[in-house]
């Protein structure tokens, strides 16, 4: 087998048309083509503009509270008996997850583009809350689309969005979850394309979203690289992150892609188990196709219809995945694995009790894989896990598993 070289990765992906190999691209109706070219142009203009970057950095520092710490999980490391485990604490961000890194970038871009109204889709509600938060601060009108099913599951986040002044629209079509919210947001955008900026919450959608959201989230990996170097004197041996659409994972992975010694593990939701068909793990069990503006791995039937997904965590309950992950899988740069609902719950409780950190259920999938990985590695090796969010929003889900209702 020829030796794989990833040293030219940054300059090659995506290409000008937004392709990562066969993945990505711009699969939208003609009415939106003008809007996504306009967005691409604006993003290309501002991404290297020192003033724009300074504005984002200031907000990330003063409003979000960055840099987020890297924390050595001493107790958990001893308990698992293997590699040293470090946690990148995105759960400590304002609004409680990594999502705000991206919404700040996109909302500031919206403002520069003269858009007065922002729309967003949300699953767990974290991206909706992060969007409503920046909208409140920047004085933008904000409409959040959320599957009716998720509105039920995440009632507290719905209320938070409303407090922040956003309109939350429950989506009744299809499976009434995240993918349907995305469809509805795209329909809104087509209709209000002149004054509206669509803030996509993950590395999905048509080009330039997957690259742009990745760039905004890459602050996670850039910080973590320096933090790990100063804490341990070397790069981590493995990175672990959960995968819904893949934004927290790519944010952590991206700055390390050309460092070939660093292994990467993306953890999908295996739901009730891959073999039951009730999961949300397209990279582990899906096939390539086109949905929501890009080509990627999808959970679909043989006829090309998108099929129902399941995960205990609303933020992972999505039949697609960012196209860059599809490509990283195919070229063998990252490994994609999965954790079941039960494994995630167990890891949720374990981190809570051993370290005093209550993680989001999405994050708990990454933690569940760390439980498997760490014991196979040696104590001089290190694992860096992205704690993408905190578990406050999941209290009622976890409590109801234990038979409690608030």
């Amino acid at each position: 087998m020829p030796e794989l070289k990833f040293t030219d990765y940054f300059k090659n992906y995506p290409d000008k048309e937004g392709h990562f190999g066969p993945y990505g691209g711009r699969f939208v109706g003609e009415t939106l083509m003008g809007a996504i070219y306009e967005l691409e142009e604006a993003y290309e203009q501002y991404r290297n503009d020192p003033q724009f970057i300074a504005e984002i950095d200031k907000d990330l520092a003063d409003f979000v509270g960055r840099p987020s710490p890297v924390y050595f999980a001493d107790n958990w490391t001893r308990k698992l008996g293997g590699a040293q485990i470090y946690l990148k604490r995105e759960d400590l961000n304002h609004t409680g997850a990594h999502k705000v890194n991206n919404t700040i970038g996109q909302a500031l871009l919206a403002k520069r583009m003269g858009k007065t109204r922002i729309i967003a889709e949300t699953g767990a509600g974290q991206h909706g809350v992060a969007s409503a938060t920046v909208a409140a601060r920047l004085g933008l009108e904000c409409v959040v689309y959320m599957g009716a099913e998720d509105v039920q599951r995440q009632a507290q986040n719905v209320y938070r969005m409303k407090l922040l002044g956003a309109e939350v629209v429950p989506v009744q079509s299809g499976a009434k979850t995240l993918k349907d919210a995305l469809n509805e947001a795209l329909r809104d955008w087509v209709t209000n394309v002149d004054n509206t900026f669509y803030i996509i919450g993950t590395v999905a959608g048509p080009h330039p979203y997957p690259a742009m959201v990745r760039d905004f989230q890459s602050v996670i990996g850039r910080e973590a690289k320096n933090q790990m170097l100063s804490a341990t004197g070397k790069l981590p041996d493995a990175l672990v992150a959960c995968i819904g659409g893949g934004s927290n994972a790519i944010g952590m992975f991206y700055p390390f892609i050309e460092d070939e010694s660093v292994a990467m593990y993306g953890v999908e939701g295996a739901g009730h188990g891959i073999e039951t068909g009730q999961h949300s793990a397209p990279l582990s069990a899906g096939t390539p196709g086109v949905l929501h503006g890009n080509r990627t791995y999808l959970i679909q039937n043989k006829a090309g219809q998108i099929t129902a997904t399941h995960s205990i965590s609303a933020g992972l309950d999505y039949p697609g995945v960012g196209p860059e992950h599809a490509w990283l899988k195919d070229i063998g740069r990252a490994n994609y694995v999965s954790a079941t609902d039960d494994e995630a719950l167990e890891a949720f409780h374990e981190l809570t009790r051993t370290e005093g950190i209550i993680p989001a259920l999405e994050t708990s999938h990454a933690l569940a894989y760390v439980k498997k990985l760490a014991p196979t590695m040696s104590p001089d090796q290190t694992i860096l896990v992205n704690v993408s969010g905190r578990g406050d929003k999941d209290m009622h889900t976890v409590a109801s598993m234990a038979g409690l209702n608030f």
Binding site: E30, T31, G34, L186, R187
Partner: protein
């Protein structure tokens, strides 16, 4: 000459505007579609747009979304849609059929296989709403091999530069989306459409069809004055929805609605002749 080009040439010779109904295949029952297509032709359809149902129709409004859901509840696949076309062709060899849908079911079948089967079934054109010319070269080449027309959309937001690019790839006719929005959303503004069509005609000799905002005989007739084809979608699909529980009565009811449009268009054509 393709069946679509021939159809437009004949209509032009007669000073007529093409009437193109859209229905979703397999909605609300699989067996209804073929009789419905024949009834539409009898009621004055010149070309038929047959929707391939998709689970995530992001460019469609609620009316066609629900049509897709009904069809998918009947487990209608792209293969079934092709079978319906073949069955329609048993009796009708002249009315062009354009498949309208999303990329993924075609990709799942494989573009080459899809093109081959579509040609065999008697499909004349394919419009993939979420696959602009930039992304559809592979599908286009596959369809070209069988002389199936790749139909493309132009929207109110399409720049002149893009119009030129789209015109260079388009075959059969160009479909102008008359509103910023999803199917069935709003009423169109005839003056605006007139201006855009005039612009389009600088860049293409292809016939121009207009759709997305046409709801009644009056708007159909107004559009017929400026366009080469009028596409009626959500209005007919709403009528199908109303007959969900009485599918036997459906072909006649939908055809009756289309006949009203035909009548309004013809009356206007006569008046302006």
């Amino acid at each position: 000459m393709s069946r679509i080009s021939e159809c437009f040439a004949n209509l032009k010779a007669d000073g007529q505007t093409a009437l193109i109904p859209y229905v979703t295949a397999g909605d609300p029952e699989r067996w209804v579609t073929v009789p419905l297509l024949h009834a539409l032709v009898d009621a004055g359809a010149d070309i038929i747009e047959l929707g391939v149902p998709f689970s995530d129709p992001m460019c469609d409004g609620p009316v066609i979304q629900k049509a897709c859901e009904r069809a998918l509840n009947n487990e209608v696949t792209l293969q079934h849609v092709l079978d319906m076309v073949a069955q329609f062709r048993d009796k009708n060899k002249t009315t062009p059929i354009v498949l309208m849908g999303y990329d993924n079911p075609m990709e799942a079948m494989g573009y080459a296989k899809f093109a081959e089967k579509a040609a065999e079934a008697g499909v004349d054109g394919v419009l993939t709403v979420d696959s602009p010319p930039e992304e559809s070269s592979e599908l286009r080449q596959a369809l070209d091999k069988y002389d199936i027309d790749s139909i493309y959309l132009v929207a109110p937001t399409t720049s002149v530069e893009r119009i030129q690019r789209i015109a260079s790839f388009a075959k059969g006719f160009i479909y102008y989306v008359s509103i910023k929005g999803v199917t069935g959303a709003a009423a169109l503004d005839v003056a605006e459409v007139r201006e855009k069509l005039a612009l389009l005609r600088h860049y293409t000799d292809l016939p121009l069809g207009v759709g997305f905002g046409i709801r009644d005989g009056q708007s159909a007739a107004a559009v017929a004055e400026i366009a080469d084809a009028v596409v009626i979608g959500s209005t007919l699909v709403r009528c199908i929805e109303e007959h969900e529980k009485r599918p036997e009565a459906l072909p006649a009811a939908v055809a009756g609605l289309l006949a009203e449009m035909r009548y309004a268009i013809n009356a206007r054509n006569l008046a302006s002749a």
